[in-house]
């Protein structure tokens, strides 16, 4: 969907079960083996060495994502992320891709609200080439005119499509409602006004300000030895500027609920986005809030919203809610799609569940079961190299210690029912910011399903 904040789904980890791991006959992905690697040149990374599969996965991030876009040029960071793999140094786009493809190296970049992120996966034998190409893309991107215009036209086409997409319209409106003129109120990909104005100079300026060593975080998992990795990290990141030049972003609390907006669009399914101010990652009550959110609308097939909106009433196929945390704010956000002629009923049902959570909090049984889930799910979140690397990067972005995985169960266990109730009231007690995109209530009384326009 349209929300691409960091930290949405990466929060469920913790210590692998050591007793079981010790029985395993081959090396495991045990989180217990996370190394804090410092390269000879001083580049730091969290690293898990694992030779089960002959590949290496690296995830890394530079602080300063879409929120670093100039106010009148939203979308610069996104455009940079889309162009960094389109040629570097003396390799034009075609040659650069040829070099990647020839060795099946997977190199990609992504913009989030607070970071420019990268992902690199390679077969073990190709690590020199893979890191070498990454080095070029970070230090000497070409931004050739033909490539810039090609990528720009793709981004603009996507933005044009968004103008009639109910999900995109709902997400955009929700961000505006929550954050107004703050950089978080903009969408990462920019607008139909801003993207055509972006020039190569803007791209280069963004690279200069953001791609630097001072806020770089790295996680690596796979079949490579630490000495070799240290050398490759130096070759790749060592020559970057020591310091970036980030524009300070003010902290902001999302708008106070309740507020509502309606955007008319003639679609068979009405899309509803709802949410409100969230909770900071470092707040002592964060885990209590995380557990409450899991009970109310977390991604499982058993949340209160799932049961009461989908299972019992058949109002929606998909309904869920997440906590989102950013460097300068936090939200809870949910989304669902519902039959046009029952959208009012769906919004009422969501509000009733949110109110019930705010007033009564979870039950002891719900709390116990949610804790049990969160503790058990840790291992499942660690079962591939890429997932493990992604998780280890997220912990670093969140400012957690390298021993967090071992400590997490105790943090979950420490949450009390009183604390969970208190946080529930704080988070959901104000009601909701709600955006509804669909047919106006009157028109929605027409048949709900798509009918061919003419028979």
């Amino acid at each position: 969907m349209s929300f691409t904040w960091s930290g949405v789904t990466r929060s469920v980890f913790a210590a692998a079960c050591f007793a079981l791991i010790s029985l395993a006959p081959v090396p495991s992905h045990a989180a217990a083996k996370i190394q804090h690697l410092v390269s000879p040149g001083g580049i730091e990374a969290w690293f898990v060495q694992d030779a089960t599969v002959p590949l290496v996965a690296m995830e890394y991030a530079f602080k300063g994502g879409a929120s670093q876009d100039p106010a009148d040029k939203a979308g610069v960071g996104n455009m940079v992320a889309s162009l960094l793999d389109e040629g570097a140094a003396d390799l034009d786009s075609r040659t650069f891709h040829e070099r990647l493809d020839r060795r099946a190296i997977q190199l990609s970049f992504e913009i989030t609200r607070d970071t420019l992120r990268g992902s690199l996966r390679m077969l073990k034998a190709n690590s020199d080439e893979a890191f070498g190409l990454l080095h070029l893309s970070l230090t000497a991107p070409r931004f050739d005119t033909g490539d810039v215009e090609r990528i720009r036209s793709q981004i603009v086409a996507g933005l044009r499509r968004d103008t009639t997409s109910p999900n995109a319209l709902a997400s955009r409106k929700f961000l505006q409602m929550a954050f107004g003129d703050h950089p978080y109120g903009r969408t990462n990909s920019g607008t139909l006004d801003s993207v055509p104005k972006i020039e190569v100079g803007d791209l280069r300026d963004y690279v200069r300000r953001v791609i630097a060593r001072d806020h770089l975080k790295i996680a690596v998992v796979g079949d490579i030895d630490p000495a070799k990795l240290g050398k490759l990290l130096d070759q790749t990141f060592g020559a970057l500027p020591a310091k970036g030049d980030l524009t300070p972003i003010p902290d902001i609390v999302a708008a106070k609920p309740p507020q509502r907006a309606f955007i008319p669009l003639d679609v068979p399914q009405t899309v509803v986005t709802f949410g409100g101010p969230g909770i900071a990652r470092h707040d002592p009550n964060f885990m209590a809030a995380y557990i409450d959110n899991h009970i109310l609308g977390g991604g499982s097939l058993s949340s209160r919203l799932y049961k009461n909106v989908r299972e019992k009433r058949g109002l929606a196929y998909s309904i869920s809610e997440s906590l989102l945390w950013m460097d300068h704010s936090a939200l809870f956000v949910g989304m669902t799609g519902t039959r046009a002629d029952r959208a009012g009923e769906t919004v009422d049902a969501i509000n009733a569940e949110v109110r019930r959570m705010a007033e009564d909090g979870p039950t002891q049984k719900e709390l116990d079961e949610a804790k049990s889930y969160l503790k058990g799910s840790q291992m499942l979140a660690l079962d591939t190299s890429s997932k493990l690397a992604t998780g280890l990067l997220q912990y670093q972005m969140d400012g957690l210690g390298i021993d967090y995985i071992e400590k997490r169960n105790a943090i979950v266990d420490a949450v009390t029912l009183d604390q969970a109730r208190q946080v529930a009231k704080q988070l959901w007690g104000q009601g909701l910011l709600t955006v509804v995109v669909g047919r106006a209530p009157q028109a929605a009384a027409q048949p709900a399903a798509a009918r061919p326009p003419a028979h």
Partner: protein, 465 residues
């Protein structure tokens, strides 16, 4: 945002390379060879096929049960029934009432879901390995023990109708694809949407679902895939004790026979107009052999052809239509090899503003004509083979992906050897075979071309009110 999809739509790319293998000598470029033990396979006396894939990195296990039934096995008039039943399989049994199975999975930190395609319906759980025994007990129990009541069937039908609205009705491109598939298949049920036609979904009943369930859900119509930190010898007794106790259904035929396509003789076109279309799209679908129906070497050649045309920034379509000539925004090509019956090779192009469908179609046809006339350069062939084979190594990183590859392939009638030899067969594809595949199969008479356009006509609703 959403939970995992309950539906694998046939046009999704998720199982694009579903034939790709487990473990294999690595690509030439990888300059590395790895070997792995063959997965353990056996068949219980009640006919249940079992595949066990070891992955000892983490103490986690994935259980997947695959039924050999999909939307193409539905009775005409009951489209969407296979998928509707998939939803209803979460409604509980006499022994384990609604919610108990899911709650058990959650309590141990696991996750679960289900999916339906034209050829299969699958259910899976990922849990800590010490929970596997309970998962087997639950899954074996609901193979024949499902209890359905109108009070939970009818709201679930509304849920499926909302799924239809989300995936299809709200999405003009999905509506175009639905029309293309219906036009591509004149006689075979692959022409029906997996999710069903709306007017038929809304009439499906509890009795329909139960009849379908009794007809198709049985051990002799299923494959059990267990991937993860397990030892085959250790878990076999538990499999016997749970799944082994479910009686076979003698009425299930040994082979799956569907009405087949006549030889295609006419190029078809469909145009879908929708007022919300801001980006026109051209899609071309060809009727081509699946891995199951193809002659030796033909299916890997189609895999290579799709990768040459659509894989990455140096793919032929992207170069010709996006990079070398500014005609299009994006292009794609894919081949759905894992299917029981003749399947689709599909191309898509999003034209730039101001460029006509005719212009992009000419350029696309020129790429195809070139492929059908000239052998591809050796270096291009080598590049795409390396990519395809490397995908198989990347896939080893995920036990769930491996379980899915094996499950899908075995369910459409391929063998473990077919899967394991896939890299070798990719490696053996010659330039001449690729040329022949293009020449034989990418011909207009075998195809439907679909156009997604903006509807600028006044809406009929406005006239009505």
């Amino acid at each position: 945002m959403t939970s995992l999809p309950r539906l694998v739509v046939r046009t999704a790319t998720a199982i694009l390379l579903a034939l790709a293998p487990l473990l294999l000598p690595a690509s030439t470029a990888a300059a590395q060879t790895i070997t792995s033990p063959r997965p353990t396979t056996f068949t219980l006396s009640n006919g249940l096929a079992v595949v066990i894939i070891p992955d000892h990195r983490t103490p986690v296990v994935t259980q997947m049960i695959w039924y050999k039934v999909g939307s193409a096995d539905e009775t005409p008039g009951k489209s969407g029934l296979a998928h509707f039943l998939e939803h209803l399989m979460f409604k509980g049994t006499a022994k384990h009432p609604e919610g108990e199975f899911s709650q058990t999975v959650l309590r141990v930190g696991g996750n679960e879901n289900a999916f339906t395609s034209a050829d299969y319906t699958g259910y899976y759980q990922r849990v800590p390995r010490d929970q596997l025994g309970r998962m087997m007990e639950f899954e074996a129990d609901r193979m024949t023990g499902l209890v359905l009541k109108d009070e939970n069937v009818l709201p679930e039908r509304d849920v499926v109708l909302e799924e239809y609205n989300m995936r299809v009705a709200n999405n003009p491109d999905a509506r175009l694809t639905e029309q293309i598939m219906a036009a591509l298949y004149l006689n075979h049920p692959y022409g029906r949407p997996v999710i069903g036609w709306h007017h038929e979904i809304e009439k499906l009943t509890r009795a329909d679902a139960l009849a379908f369930y009794r007809r198709f859900y049985a051990p002799n119509n299923a494959t059990l895939v267990i991937a993860g930190d397990v030892d085959a010898d250790e878990i076999r007794p538990a499999i016997e004790k749970t799944f082994g106790q479910v009686p076979r259904n003698p009425d299930i035929p040994a082979t799956r026979v569907r009405p087949q396509e006549p030889p295609p003789v006419a190029p078809r076109t469909v145009t879908l107009a929708d007022p919300r279309v801001e980006q026109p799209i051209l899609r071309r679908y060809y009727l081509v052999p699946s891995a199951k129906t193809a002659a030796a070497g033909e299916s890997p050649a189609l895999d290579v052809l799709a990768q040459l045309m659509g894989g990455g920034s140096n793919a032929y379509l992207y170069r010709a239509l996006v990079v070398d000539h500014p005609l299009a925004i994006s292009t794609s090509a894919s081949y759905q090899g894992t299917a029981l019956d003749p399947t689709q090779f599909s191309l898509a192009v999003a034209p730039k503003q101001g460029v006509s469908f005719q212009q992009v179609e000419q350029a696309m046809d020129a790429v195809i004509a070139n492929l059908a006339e000239h052998p591809v350069p050796a270096e291009d062939l080598e590049r795409v083979k390396t990519q395809l084979i490397a995908d198989a190594i990347y896939a080893q990183d995920s036990q769930a992906t491996l379980a899915r590859w094996y499950g899908a392939a075995l369910t459409v009638g391929l063998t473990v050897d077919d899967i394991r030899s896939w890299p070798d067969r990719i490696r053996a594809v010659t330039a001449a075979q690729v040329r022949d595949a293009a020449k034989t199969w990418l011909v207009k008479t075998r195809s439907v071309t679909g156009y997604l356009v903006k509807d600028t006509a006044p809406k009929p609703e406005e006239k009505r009110s």
